[in-house]
Amino acid sequence: MSLFLIAALPFLGAVFPALFIRAGRNASASSAGLTTLLAFIGLMLHAPAILRGEVVTARFDWLPILGLNANFFLDGLGFLFAGLILGIGLLIILYARFYLSRQDPMGQFYTYLLLFQGAMVGIVTSDNILLLLIFWELTSLSSFLLIGYWKHLPEGRQGARMALTVTGMGGLAMIGGMLILGHIVGSYDLTVILQHKEAIQASPLYLPALLLILAGCFTKSAQFPFHFWLPHAMAAPTPVSAYLHSATMVKAGIFLMARMWPVLAGTPEWFYIVATAGLVTMVVGAVIALFKDDLKALLAFSTVSHLGLITMLLGFGTKAAAIAAIFHIINHATFKAALFMSAGIVDHEAHTRDIKRLGGLRHLMPVTFTIALIAALSMAGIAPLNGFISKEMMLEEASHTGWLGNAYIIPGLAVFAALFSAAYSFRYIGHVFLGPKREDYPGHPHDPGFGMWAAPAFLVVLVVLIGLFSGKIAEPLVQVVADAVTQQHPHVHLKLWHGVTPALYMSIFAVVGGLLALLAHGRLEAIWNALPRPEAKVIFDHIIAALTFVADRMTAGLHNGSITRYSLVMILFCTGVSYVAFDSGTLPAATRTVQEAGPLAILGWFALVVATGLILRHHHNRLLALILIGIVGLVVSLAFNYLSAPDLALTQISVEVVTIILMLLALNFLPKETPREIPQQTRLRDAAIATVGGLGVGGLIYALMVRDFAAGTISDYHLANSYKGGGGTNVVNVILVDFRGFDTFGEIIVLGIAAMVIFALTEAVLGSKVRAYLLNRKPDLPQDGDPHPLMMVVATRVMMPLALLVAAYIFFRGHNLPGGGFIAGLVAAIAIVMQYMASGFGWAAERQRIFYHGVIGAGVLIAAATGMGAWFNDLPFLTSAFGYIHWAPLEEFEWATAALFDLGVFLAVVGAVLLALESLSRFAWQPGMTSEHAMDINPARDDEPKIKSEV
């Protein structure tokens, strides 16, 4: 099965549990299980090749220039982890089916679990480190969902937040480290990076990259001092804990350290950072674990401790230590998942996880006891179980590793940690299962059904088998993984009995010491409780609170809700940047002669300046300001026409009409006066800013206009090819529908979206309590006694076909003469709006049922279909075609596919404009307003004139 499919399967399958939950919990669990099983089988099909030492790859170059490739590869290391993730995932799915209660939303659980599983498989099979980073972040996010699965528990939510904060921050650091690594090597492909050990370790950026990547690994794998999140994540349901903290999430950091081992390990920096962090974590985790009364907390800290052990081994940087680390990864996954599941069973049956309230369960739960006993003994490192072998190997490596020249620190602390490890493992057995039966269990403990203990039982069988036949079962796998981790071929030989070595003495000492420690547990606990120790959660909460405080102050200080202030900052910033740009550039001499201005131009300019001045003077009177701004718009349109831009003039004047109507409609509901509330000082300051801005912009455009282009323009190309290539003589129109058709296509979509936004806003406002206000609203200005006057109604009826004819004319001539879809659309829209104005919106809308959403959609689709038509001729999107047709009585005329595109533009514009205006009109609707007749006073009618008010 392709690696793409294996990585994608959990994601694809994630929808099924959520869907199938309607068919029952078994269906939901089965769909999750089948998906995982399928991926697992797919993976196992590669097993023979992997065990032969081959590497399976799947490559998809997405953006090779940026190094963004969806490349996957599977070697021994990836195979081991993918196998653990999918294999244990399968067992967890089975276990969770029986663990979760009826109240828990099981579909959600399996969906989250599969998302998480997919992200993990992605991490371990990615070849591209950028892809790996994405999966890495996905595990943080999906584990957040899993840890916080019991949303009603505050500890669950807090634990999930803490896990996300810590691992997410580590992930961010790792992004930096990975990018540095890619920069050093010049490739983001792992397989390439792994070949460049010398280049990476010689680079001055080695240390920063190492620190950043390790920050990601240490946070994920809960290494000291980031270990504190893991125990808090125990608020999750036990299947989640068992999955995340035995085989997957926390192993992701370990995986990455192993993956990067060939290029990062072997330096003193690596040794002192990684081995030391691992050593400290191992000791700290083991000691705390012994004094935890919560079963899951005990297991959580033991996980921390064992992760420290693996990290330390990887940190040693020797091949033998790496082999020990790999083997312990396998062993830890098996016994720890089994232990978590057995703890879950105890919790499920006895209704408590408090060791102080348990004991004597072996009589009541013999099966669970057997499973827990084997797994715990393996964790303690008792022969002949698998935990014994890897612990021996660890002690062996520790015994001949010095730290800063001291040969005793590492072996001593390793034995110390092993002692505590044995002690808490024994405590798990002794204080929970052994001892006399009690009468005061909160529940009625008994062995659960087969479904619940099947998964842990399977795992402990593995624990025993790997322990007894390590050479047969585990050795080939460990061999290929070791090859992958070291990128060499070290000799792997696993066996139960190594002879009488220092490691054996250390091991015996640890086990005996562990037993003694358990016997003295009561006294040790008293000492432990008397010791002052920092509570990680309190420190974490304080740091977060401080950060939140700073962020709040920053945000509140900058973002204080005053839009005026934001505008001011923006304007000042733009002015400042422009000044700096101007000041640092050079201004060559003017090259163009200034053109003579005719009297018409001076007149227009004069009108514009006076109107603008009056707006500033009288903007408090809003209606007056609106009329004055219409004058400005008119002058601008005339100026466009005067300055050889007829298309712009037509567009500007029709947009002007629509805009003013829209603003008038809105003003109907807004206050008619702006209060004079701004102090004079502020007004003067604003005037000064505005003057500076205006002078700057005016000066800039003047400077531009009196100089020629600094470089050649592409306009000549458009002029030369408009007719030849586009079949039209109106170059502006040809640019819009042909040369830059894609821009126009985007633009009509934007226009359509704007109209939809307006529609949605209207729906939202009218759906709120505002509607009651609008329905009972009394107009605040005296209303016209005859809102639908006869003259206007008759005139607009006559004008409608004329206006539509003009629109059609403008549309058709657009390709060759000023006009086109935009302008035609606006003219047509105005023709319809006139009907609204004459007879009232209600009357007109009843007679003309056009679904404007559909018009917009049709416009966009027609434009898109026209563009796609080019594909059938193997041409790029929106390539236009044109030709000439000669029909007998008519003159020869031209057709172009661009006209069809322009039709799309036309429809989109009509729909958008009318939808916007229609939405506004709906605000004015009041019951009984829609008049029965087109005009209120009609001499041809006998009935009493009904005069109603409408806007």
């Binding site: 809700g561 839009i563 202030r565 505008s567 053109q595 201005a597 131009a601 300019w605 514009l608 300046v609 603008t612 707006i615 809003r622 300001a625 718009g633 300055l643 831009a645 007829p646 712009l648 567009t651 500007q652 805009t659 829209l662 603003m663 809105a666 509901f669 702006t674 701004i678 102090p679 000082q681 502020t682 604003d686 800013i689 003057t691 205006g694 002078l695 912009v697 005016g698 000066g699 455009i701 003047y702 531009l704 206009m705 306009s715 003589t729 170059v731 502006v732 819009l736 830059r740 633009e747 934007v750 226009l751 307006i758 939202a764 709120s768 505002v770 935009f822 514009v909 506004l920 605000f923």
Partner: protein, 117 residues
């Protein structure tokens, strides 16, 4: 001619900026419209000014044409700015109807920055 266009652009921009710095929605919308005029004419003028030279190809005579590219750009800009104005007007209207005030600043901000708003 150039000085007229340049000064008109400057005046419209200045009026736009001044109105945008007001505190009520309506003048701010008017200011945006003024700024739109200014910016559109500015963009148009980057193609340099020409009188009587529209970019309509003449098959029969070799006549000068003005720069068509800024015109196409500005045509798009005019239509888009209509869409923008319409959306802003609706937001302003919805805000006024919902809160019964057309002040664009939040209350606490208004008291805090009352003197510079």
């Amino acid at each position: 001619m150039e000085i007229l266009v340049a000064s008109a652009v400057g005046i419209m921009t200045a009026a736009g900026i001044y109105l945008i710095l007001r505190r009520r929605t309506f003048p701010v919308i008017l200011g945006l419209s003024m700024l739109t005029y200014g910016v559109n004419v500015f963009l148009f003028a980057t193609g340099r000014l020409a009188i009587g030279a529209p970019p309509i190809l003449n098959k029969y005579a070799d006549v000068p044409y003005t720069d068509p590219l800024p015109q196409a750009l500005v045509l798009t800009a005019i239509v888009i700015s209509f869409g923008m104005t319409a959306v802003v007007v609706m937001i302003a209207l919805g805000a006024y109807l919902s809160s019964r005030t057309d002040d664009i600043n939040m209350d606490d901000a208004a008291t805090e920055t009352g003197e510079d708003a």
